[in-house]
Symmetry: C2
Subunit: 302 residues, 2 copies
Amino acid sequence: MGSLVGVLLAATSGVALAPAAPARQSVSELLAGASPADWRPLDPNNTLYLELASGRVVIELAPQFAPLHVANIRTLAAAHYFDGLAIVRVQDNYVVQWADPDGRRPVPPTVTKVAAEFDSAIPAHLPFTPLPDGDVYAPRVGFSDGFPVALDTRHDRMWLLHCYGMVGVGRDDDAESSGTELYAVIGHAPRHLDRNVALVGRVVSGIEHLSSLPRGSDAMGFYAKSETPVPIRALELAADVPTAQRSDLEVLRTDSKLFEDVIEARRNRPEEWFRTKAGRIDVCNVPIPVRAHPSAPTAPAP
Amino acid sequence: MGSLVGVLLAATSGVALAPAAPARQSVSELLAGASPADWRPLDPNNTLYLELASGRVVIELAPQFAPLHVANIRTLAAAHYFDGLAIVRVQDNYVVQWADPDGRRPVPPTVTKVAAEFDSAIPAHLPFTPLPDGDVYAPRVGFSDGFPVALDTRHDRMWLLHCYGMVGVGRDDDAESSGTELYAVIGHAPRHLDRNVALVGRVVSGIEHLSSLPRGSDAMGFYAKSETPVPIRALELAADVPTAQRSDLEVLRTDSKLFEDVIEARRNRPEEWFRTKAGRIDVCNVPIPVRAHPSAPTAPAP
């Protein structure tokens, strides 16, 4: 494969350092030197498993940003509302959406439309790791508790960002929504959706099971009648899954010094391959590293 | 499907206008009112067809930005260099790459590594439609001849941008490259690659044949030995394909007033669904509309 390796190294790993450059480490080198305290486990009460034939999609929920919608989604998951429903829409460079294709599945009575959760007041002690390079859409961007976030301190508002892998709640022309239709971003960040939808979480593992699905051929990527919607085996809260069948994942703490170093290593790639160091980074290009817990058994997925 | 329609309308079509808003049109309404002069045909000498089992990927070449690499690619296509080779790498949220998996295919003797074409001097009469909202990575961004471009007028440099669908030339640690390894962007714009790779074109149709491919499970998305690389039936210049088998596509002129209106309709979506108008746009979120030539026969793809 010889000369193919170039772009690869550039993309994610890279080892060789430019001789004259200050000693800097690549992301993989930084992570190799992480301490256990740099990582946090996923909270089973804030973790969804979307089970497809091809594998499991792990979603971390963000109740701190959308408590009403996350409560609804927990109720829907506990009622097995999504089990046997389907992915109904795959629009290239945009979103994958899942819902009830026939509209016949009974919705638990406590799940009703709740108030819009497009943005919220900034709490007094928000963990926030800012980015230094500005943003096209928002006054200030960075990370909080593992999620990409914008802050508008002048108006005391914060909101989650539509980066790749973020999960939101489909809605009609009402601002309110319930959570019975969910979508994940599988393309260039559609940031115009920010503050128009309740974002409720982020895919931390298995996004490829969504992003590589066949695109729907109807308008806006909905599957046509001649196409088979992709069945959902189950959508469950991790806490409701036996411990042995959980995905024992850890996420790098975004309030750690190590995460700041990761950002720097991405703003200015130390790998020799890069002839022009960007010196800047877009919020949706910052990786949020995830790993299997070092002591986790490598159990086969259910 | 009732309530599913919300996000859809928001995404691409939308008809209802907010009553109090100034009369503004959505992108689809604008395009419905386009005149024939707003569109330009693809030049068969600057158009590549990448033929896969699932269909055709149409790539518009950009010789005005990378003349040496485009000349090599034309030679490779004429020699049928890529026919029977394979897609060897599919990395989620990043790139699809195609090349010679075995490294055994003879390269035409006139195709050698050429000088880096990462950026170039700004010509005297560059067609350029600027964007007004800034950019995280470059001093100024906009569109030229249908391609997303950055300008640095202080240093008299311009370069193409790694937006979704852009096609570039893989290289090793040398800055020079030949064009025997090509890739297309299938994720959030990896703008840190700007000015590190010769970008040579853009997928104008059929990107879904690349973006929905199974991801490779080896490092950096390369297909593992146990996985079958996706065969390339042919990579040909449109000019070398019989007229009846060509894809008769037209691209909206990016130096037209209509394209400026498209940008505005995307900066501030007129659709009622949007509660918060972004008022801004990232260069890689601007659509460059493509259509079948109105008089084109709907011939089956070869």
